[in-house]
Symmetry: C2
Subunit: 78 residues, 2 copies
């Protein structure tokens, strides 16, 4: 089972992407975790360390895919 | 079965995204077509009409998701 992490911030662009990602990823291959970086700021460092620069972003097996553009990571820092 | 179309242009960013998309999309739900817009320019109009502005892009049920950024559509026109 591979790990997929979808980072988002609750923005409209994020929500649309989240719904499609959630239903399109193969549940037989990926265990998908959804992380709201606005509500869970303690995960910001982890997201940045794997290369996430904006949300929504999907990390599959450590590779980052920025999907459309909702907000820059810098805008999520307190 | 839903339809998914992955538009790309053979660029390195496209190839990485294509490999991940191909193995992560649920084959029980989506029939995925891969379209190389550089080699198949006749599909450019179709891609633009659904809202594709750059490649690689994945269209799921008519919704466009631009994944990272390889090239703008305009760069693919002869």
């Amino acid at each position: 089972m591979s790990k997929a992490i979808f980072y988002h911030a609750g923005c409209p662009v994020c929500v649309e992407a989240e719904q499609q990602v959630a239903k399109s990823i193969d549940p037989a291959k990926y265990n998908v975790e959804f992380v709201h970086l606005g509500e869970n700021g303690s995960r910001l460092g982890e997201a940045e360390s794997v290369g996430v620069k904006s949300v929504p972003a999907l990390v599959l097996d450590g590779a980052v895919f920025h999907i459309n553009h909702g907000a820059d990571i810098s805008a999520l820092k307190a």
